[in-house]
Amino acid sequence: MKMSYLKGLALAIDEAMAAEPRVILMGSRMGGHLTAQENEAFAGVLDRYAERIFMNVPIAEFGLAGAAVGASLAGGRPLLSFNIGSFMLHGFPPIVNEAPNVHYTTGGRCSAPVTYYALGGIRGGGSSQHSHRLQAMLGNVPGLQILAPATAGDAYGLLKWCLLESRNPTVFFAHTDLLLSEDEADGASPLLPVGSARISRAGHDITLIAHSVTVPRALAAADALAADHGVSAEVIDLRTLAPLDAATVVDSVRKTGHAVVVDECHKSFGVNAEIAATLAEAALSHLKAPIGRVATADVPIPYNLSLEREISVTPDKIVQGALSTLEGRASC
């Protein structure tokens, strides 16, 4: 069955709430400005579980993030939606410094199974304050699961897993530019435990390592590389950033000998840095060329759409990065 990413989220929530009465839903809407599509995807869900839905809330990201931790400590399994990811910064004290510490600091006696949801990313006109991609920042927080799936099926499977199975705190990043994308998926797909990457396209000349919105862009680049340059690119969708499936990445690069990391975070200190470092540590002898890093430029996000595009990751830039790497040059 074809399903949109938004519908995948709605279905995961619907099924999880049906299966598990401890699941509650808090916070803001999940579809950004796609109100109509969100309403359609969620039709019925919010009514069906009305007494477990707390979506009419004040503008109080810290308070809500903290309340979600508390709810998880008391035996709830809360999903808190921030809508726009940038607002998650307000909730960093609980998200970074409460939830991920609970299990460890209590010597394994308690845990905080809370799931935070946000639309990460550059969204068109969001300018500097509404376009954050916080996954790299949060990656430096031990004890926090970070998910950034790229497809409807994975969004469904991972979110449902978080709500039903995980006993760790999780941050789940969706992306405005993915919400309406469709792929084959259905409610019968198995739960998807965190920590496993997916090879989205097999190839043998070069590995493109992507996550979230950069996956479809890397796939488009792989098409262009094949069609225009006769290059066979393997595309890896990381899906979960913490825990990271380093083995899949390393194995692929051992095979292709070339790697370009594709990342919507700013380049410096981005997810791309961790992947490149992992390869430099674990696959160095297999690398035939410098690791390319195609990422958002190290500038705040500008408002104007052509400027925004200029500093963003595009299939074109990925193609250029791949070609540079294949020629043995650094990509920037």
Binding site: G126, Q129, Y303, N304, L307
Partner: protein, 330 residues
């Protein structure tokens, strides 16, 4: 007020033409607040606006020309396409930085006011913000600091969702914010408060003149809640034109506002109320009103068209302005 109204109706037209880059906000129905506050402010004062900034800027004297260009992200705006609708700034008018994070402006305004006081600068600081700000913890940390440091800060809380019949009172039914009387909170911190009907521009002007004067004299914070009733076009996520653009002739009963606008226009629109009172007092004639309106409309049309013709900033300008040059070097 009329210039603000016509500017924002122009924004709705731009939106209709599909050329605004993204979500935006209009302050239709809140113009009196902007006009009264900026009327009471002086040149050296520093103002912080928010995501709903058009009124504040125009009332402060900003030119609709660059403002349209800024809204469109074009050259000719104030930021060369970098800031845009959520970050409308005018450093030349004492509006150096505009945040669109709900709540952040309050502590920033407090810090600015601290500098004004500590450096013995002329000028107070004025922060405009919505009622939603009082749901954010930053507000409380900010007002506590304002009270602690005793800084010259005017907090203008635009409570823009008050039902018509409650507008002249000082309490509302709790929604997501549980305090029934907003002013109770700054009061608890020892900050003097006032509450006023935002449809009453004359009353607002008198109050704000007094408040800003008091803050200037006492170098201490003040909190004003201005209560307005939501413009019917502001009920959905995206603003829309509720029925029709404002027709000032409604003030003399020539034609009628569309149904969805009628009650609001009659009871809650500060602009129509003001025009009606001016006419009733004989301060202006219908002809005056029509003539002024036509001039403003022409000015807005021209500003809008010139902004639309304005070029996109060059792509590689995206890489500039990350780091400011060191002191004294620029």
């Amino acid at each position: 007020m009329l210039l603000i109204r016509r500017f924002e109706e122009g924004m709705l037209r731009l939106h209709g033409r599909g050329i605004l880059p993204c979500h935006f906000h209009v302050s239709i129905g809140q113009e009196a607040t902007a006009v009264a506050v900026c009327g009471a402010a002086e040149e050296h004062d520093v103002l912080f606006t928010n995501h709903r900034s058009n009124g504040h800027l125009i009332a402060r004297g900003a030119d609709p020309g660059w403002m349209f260009a800024e809204q469109l992200g074009r050259v000719g705006g104030n930021t060369n396409g970098k800031g845009g609708t959520l970050h409308m700034i005018a450093p030349e008018l004492g509006m150096p930085w505009t945040t669109s994070l709900v709540g952040c402006s309050v502590p920033m305004a407090v810090g600015a006011a601290l500098i004004h006081k500590q450096q013995r600068r002329p000028g107070v600081v004025i922060a405009f913000f919505g009622d939603g700000v009082m749901e954010e913890g930053a507000f409380y940390e900010g007002i506590n600091l304002a009270a602690l440091w005793h800084v010259p800060l005017v907090c203008v809380c635009e409570n823009n969702g008050v039902p018509t019949e409650l507008r002249k009172l000082d309490t509302t039914q709790p929604s997501t914010f549980l305090a029934r009387r907003l002013a109770d909170i700054p009061s608890a911190f020892g900050i003097p408060c006032a509450t006023i009907d935002g449809a009453d521009v004359e009353g607002l002007f008198d109050l704000m003149t007094e408040v800003v004067g008091t803050v200037r004299r006492d170098l201490a914070p003040y909190f004003v809640e201005v209560r307005t009733t939501r413009y019917p076009g502001n009920r959905a996520l995206w603003p829309e034109l509720a029925g029709a653009e404002t027709d000032l002739a409604w003030a003399w009963d020539e034609g009628e506002p569309p149904e969805q606008l009628a009650a609001w226009s009659r009871d809650s629109d500060p602009l129509m109320g003001f025009v009606r009172r001016l006419l009733a007092q004989g301060a202006v004639s219908r002809d005056d009103v029509t003539r002024i309106d036509a001039a403003i409309a022409a000015r807005i049309d021209e500003a809008m068209e010139s902004a639309i013709r304005s070029p996109q900033p060059p792509p590689d300008s995206a890489y500039g302005d990350v780091w400011a040059a060191r002191e004294g070097s620029s």
